[in-house]
């Protein structure tokens, strides 16, 4: 028996006597090799974690990160976002992405940090509803570009009319997680990029692949426009086509309030860390000041349960005490966090977004009251679009949002997908296979608003499956689904009645003529009487009452969370549902060439013709709901 030193320095008994005795490395040698790994280095090797798994996704992620940052910045500064996205193709797999906003701009000295460092940002250390969370996105995109093309990042930013615009070329140093400035120029008078006098433009060159359809930049922008009716977008595609997504609402959503963490939402390690970092000296004030919903009496109760007092010095709280406090937090009833930190899209804005984005005939929306998972407040909203020109024989299309950001990948891993599948859609008149999405001309939109959205990974593609979240989603789906069900039933009855009337009318002529031949009574008089009768017979059934004894029509149409577009119902038979979602939304205008845009067959293109909206409220100019 021989004893060998294993690679990690632990002695392992080896029973094979004949194996060669090779001493591979000593602990000292290994110690020399052990050192810090820069986060940026880690992510450079694991770029799939950030959504750069393949060239196609990389292109989308780059646009997405830049646009998300722009929207966040604009909203925080109280500016109605106008965002310009341009992608140009430099080679077969090489693209240049430029995203420009009218945001507040970035002060010169922060530029290299914001764009050049991973995990650098304003959003991680606070609890506030925003699109970005970690401060990884845009720097990772720049890093990906640099790695695949060797080209640095180009940033132009201007913070106000009286300030010059700075143009900075950055190159990331992945081993140090910081950026080197390659060159920098100042343009004191140049306002051509920023007509508002402020804004930021990012240009990244990268290896990518451009493809239309599902999970494309087009789809991302189109869905972003649905969830952000207050923003306007321009998109110049690699084919040099210009797509416009005009603003639907002229008002910014209310600003989300920043909140402190809720005690129920933290883990023991986090608690210890917070104790180490706090400026408070005593446990009681620490609990009251660093967390929300901890009143002096709650703090006292927590301390008592943990066997300490609220006067205990933080410095004297060891691991054992911290654990006791943690345990006490789990046991004591603490008020749920306030929900004013949440800004849902809102039923009306959501409907207006769907209405311009989806060519359906029926829309319903539901916004749930806020709820809490792991101490984090969240709120679920659902929108449903049905019929119209949506394809009839496919599974429902799911569009998912988290804090107004579309989630395009990993649909089936997402909590929202699971909640849709587990909801029983059959009572609403839709067919649905086992463990499958409902079938039919249906678009389901789910939005989760939260100060901290629990994503399954850093690339933010799917919402983690918490029971509380899934339950809220299901309730919201059911709320919107019930309205859809009432509508589908009514539509079926209408269809049935129309068919019935058709059958009657077909035979009335023959009957009237036969009657004349038998009795001599003029056929016309019998015919007229029977046609009148046919009409009343089928009209009667038209207005049949629903379960609650109310006439269904007025019931549905007086509902503010429902929109019915009548002209799309009529158009069903004539127009083939071939227009993809994004084409229905955007207006195509080739930048070069005098050739006019593609034929606009459908009358409901956005900004062109306002669809007839059933609610009696008159649509005012460019503002469907008077928002």
């Amino acid at each position: 028996m021989t004893t060998l030193e294993s690679a990690n320095g632990v002695a392992v008994t080896e029973t094979k006597p004949k194996s060669a005795k090779v001493r591979r490395a000593t602990a000292e040698e290994m110690g020399d090799r052990q050192r810090d790994i820069a986060v940026s280095e880690f992510f450079a090797k694991n770029r799939h974690l950030l959504g750069f798994d393949n060239p196609r996704k990389a292109l989308l992620t780059t646009v997405k990160e830049a646009v998300d940052n722009s929207l966040d910045a604009c909203e925080e500064a109280g500016i109605l976002p106008s965002i310009h996205v341009e992608i140009s193709q430099l080679g077969e797999t090489r693209f240049k992405v430029t995203v420009r906003d009218n945001g507040p701009g970035i002060v010169r000295k922060q530029i290299e940090h914001v764009f050049g460092r991973l995990l650098y940002g304003s959003k991680f250390h606070r609890l506030k509803m925003s699109r970005g969370q970690q401060g990884i996105g845009i720097s990772a995109a720049g890093m990906y570009g640099l790695m695949t093309t060797g080209q640095p990042l180009l940033i132009v930013s201007k913070i106000g009319k009286k300030h010059p615009s700075h143009e900075v070329v950055l190159k990331m140093d992945t081993s140090k997680n910081r950026a080197d400035i390659v060159s920098e120029t100042e343009h004191p008078e140049d306002d051509s990029l920023f007509p508002d006098g402020h804004g930021t433009q990012v240009t990244i060159e990268l290896e990518g692949r451009h493809q239309k359809g599902r999970q494309s930049v087009d789809e991302y922008l189109e869905q972003t426009a649905i969830a952000n009716p207050h923003a306007s977008f321009t998109y110049v595609t690699p084919e040099n086509e210009r797509m416009e997504f005009p603003r639907g609402v002229e008002e910014l959503p209310p600003e989300a309030k920043e909140i402190k963490p809720h005690p129920k939402g933290i883990e023991l390690g986090t608690l210890i860390q917070m104790m180490e970092r706090t400026e408070r000296t005593q446990l009681g004030s620490f609990l009251q000041e660093e967390f929300c919903r901890v009143s002096p009496s709650v703090a006292r109760e927590l301390c008592e349960r943990a066997g300490v007092t609220n006067r205990t010095w933080i410095k004297q709280v060891g691991h054992k005490e911290a654990e006791a406090v943690y345990k006490a937090i789990q046991e004591v009833r603490i008020m749920a966090p306030s929900t004013d930190c949440l800004v849902p899209i809102g039923t009306k804005a959501l409907l207006s977004g769907l209405l311009k984005g989806v060519k359906a005939e029926f829309f319903s929306a539901a916004t749930r009251p806020a709820d809490v998972y792991r101490g984090n407040p969240f709120q679920i909203e659902v929108g449903i679009a049905f019929g119209g020109e949506l394809p009839k024989d496919e599974s429902a299309r799911v569009i998912r949002f988290a804090n107004r950001v579309p989630l395009l990948y990993q649909q089936s891993a997402c909590c929202s997908f699971k909640s849709i599948v587990e909801t029983n859609w059959r009572p609403y008149g839709l067919s649905q296979g086992r463990d499958a999405l409902p079938e039919g001309p249906l678009v389901i939109m789910i939005h989760m608003a939260s100060a901290w959205v629990p994503f399954t990974s850093e690339s933010k593609e799917a919402v983690a499956d918490y029971d509380e979240i899934r339950k809220e989603m299901r309730l919201a789906l059911q709320e919107a689904g019930r309205k859809l069900g009432a509508y589908i039933k009514r539509r079926q009855r209408m269809k049935h009645e129309t068919e019935r009337r058709g059958i009657f009318e077909r035979y009335i002529g023959e009957t009237a003529r036969a009657c004349e031949a038998i009795t001599g009574t003029p056929a016309q008089s019998v015919y007229d009487a029977l046609m009148r009768l046919a009409k009343t017979k089928t009209e009667e059934a038209d207005q049949s009452l629903d379960d609650e004894g109310q006439v269904l029509e007025s019931h549905l149409e007086s509902d503010e969370s429902v929109v019915i577009v009548e002209n799309r119902i009529a158009a069903r038979q004539e127009v083939e549902p071939t227009l993809p979602l994004h084409e229905a939304l955007a207006i195509h205008e080739p930048l070069s060439g005098a050739k006019p845009a593609a034929p606009r067959s459908a009358p409901a293109l956005i900004g062109k013709v306002k669809p007839k909206v059933k609610p009696k409220a008159k649509p005012s100019d460019g503002n469907l709901f008077g928002m």
């Binding site: 009657f504 035979y507 002529g509 023959e510 009657c515 038998i518 019998v526 009487a529």
Partner: protein, 383 residues
């Protein structure tokens, strides 16, 4: 069984056999119905026509008369009912057709009437009738609803059924000697009412009715009717109204017993039931058509052993046959009839059916020379 496919014979050289008085009554019925529909329509009430139900549930067996009789229940046919709208229209359309026919004092086949009323509905690609079956059914409805007979609507069915034997008849005034009909026989007309068909000289002592033409030919070739002094008829499966009416009149007016030679299967039993008690569909005519004294001569289930037949003649009973046999056994007129119950049970126990032709395996003329004479002599039959 066989489907009616007949040629149009508009205005056949047939003297309308219906009296002017009957025509007047029929026209009144049709116009009355039309007037009711018009009145309802103008008052904007869902118009309807009541048609007596021709179903088993609306049929009763009259023990005393030994006949099937139609009950009182009626089916209301509305225009404003998607399932009935077309039938409603067809009812009026055919009523009009019958009215035109009566007024013209002409007669038409069922198929002729179907064509007369057939056209595309203006503005659609749909025709008034999808096929003759639809029009035939509606015409039967009209017949019952007007409380009249097909003949009185100036309609007749395709000729089916043959007769030969020691009898002379006068068909529409022409004298026909059924003893001199050659191999083809006298085709029994659709309308066998007194006035159209009259009986002349008759020596025959009984009637032998066989199921179909092939068996009938065998008997005719062997001059069975001559040897045994009888009338020989066949009805091509389930006998049409004309044949049944003729048999009924021969039985009632001339007092001739009617013996039936049918297959040993549920269908054969059912044919016998129709000849004897009347059919469910035409229960309203049972008193004119049924022959409560008719006798079932064979084939009997026991004949396989009794006549020493070979295995080859067996035709296996399928599930539908078995089910049908059980249904027939449940008919009230069979229910208390022990010999019949035994017969059906025997067939079910055998597990096979037999056609009359199976007797040919014994000898070409076995059925005419041995089987039937023996049965008649032994008075071995079912009633």
């Amino acid at each position: 069984m066989t489907k009616k496919k007949e040629s149009i014979s508009v205005g056949a050289p047939r003297r309308a056999a219906v009296s002017v008085a009957t025509d007047k009554k029929t026209l009144e019925s049709i116009c009355g119905m039309g007037a009711r529909v018009v009145k309802q329509s103008l008052a904007e009430i869902d118009p309807f026509v009541d048609v007596p139900q021709r179903t088993l549930s609306n049929t009763t067996y009259n023990e005393r008369k030994r006949l099937l009789e139609m009950g009182q229940s009626k089916l209301r046919r509305n225009l404003f009912n998607t399932a009935q709208a077309k039938k409603f229209m067809q009812t009026l359309l055919l009523s009009k057709g019958c009215k035109d026919l009566i007024e013209a004092r002409k007669t038409l086949s069922l198929r002729g009437m179907y064509y007369m009323s057939l056209h595309s509905i203006p503005g659609t690609k749909e025709k008034t009738f999808a096929g003759q079956d639809e029009s035939d059914g509606i015409l039967e409805d009209i017949e019952v609803a007007m409380e009249t007979l097909r003949e009185n609507l100036h309609l007749f069915a395709k000729k089916r059924g043959t007769m030969v034997g020691n009898i002379t008849v006068r068909d529409n005034g022409d004298e026909i000697d059924c003893r001199r009909m050659g191999t083809g026989g006298y085709a029994i007309p659709s309308i066998c009412e007194p006035g159209v068909l009259e009986f002349g000289k008759c020596e025959a002592k009984f009637v032998l009715h066989v199921e179909k033409d092939t068996v009938w030919s065998r008997f005719n070739e062997d001059r069975f009717w001559e040897k045994h002094n009888c009338i020989l008829t066949e009805g091509s499966g389930q006998p049409p109204r004309g044949v049944r009416r003729l048999l009924s009149r021969l039985n009632r007016e001339l007092g001739l017993p009617v013996y039936c030679l049918l297959d040993c299967d549920p269908w054969g039993h059912y044919i016998f039931s129709v000849i004897k008690q009347g059919s469910i569909n035409l229960a309203f005519e049972s008193s004119r058509l049924a022959i409560p004294d008719a006798k079932f001569l064979g084939i009997r289930a026991a004949d396989y052993e009794r006549c020493g037949l070979k295995d080859d003649v067996k035709i296996e009973l399928n599930d539908r046959d078995t089910e049908r046999a059980k249904q027939i056994a449940e008919y009230p007129w069979f229910l208390g009839n022990k010999p019949w119950q035994k017969e059906i049970q025997r067939m079910l126990r055998n597990g096979f059916k037999m056609e009359v032709e199976s007797l040919i395996t014994k000898n070409i003329s076995y059925v005419t020379e041995v089987y039937v004479p023996e049965r008649l002599k032994a008075k071995d039959w079912l009633e």
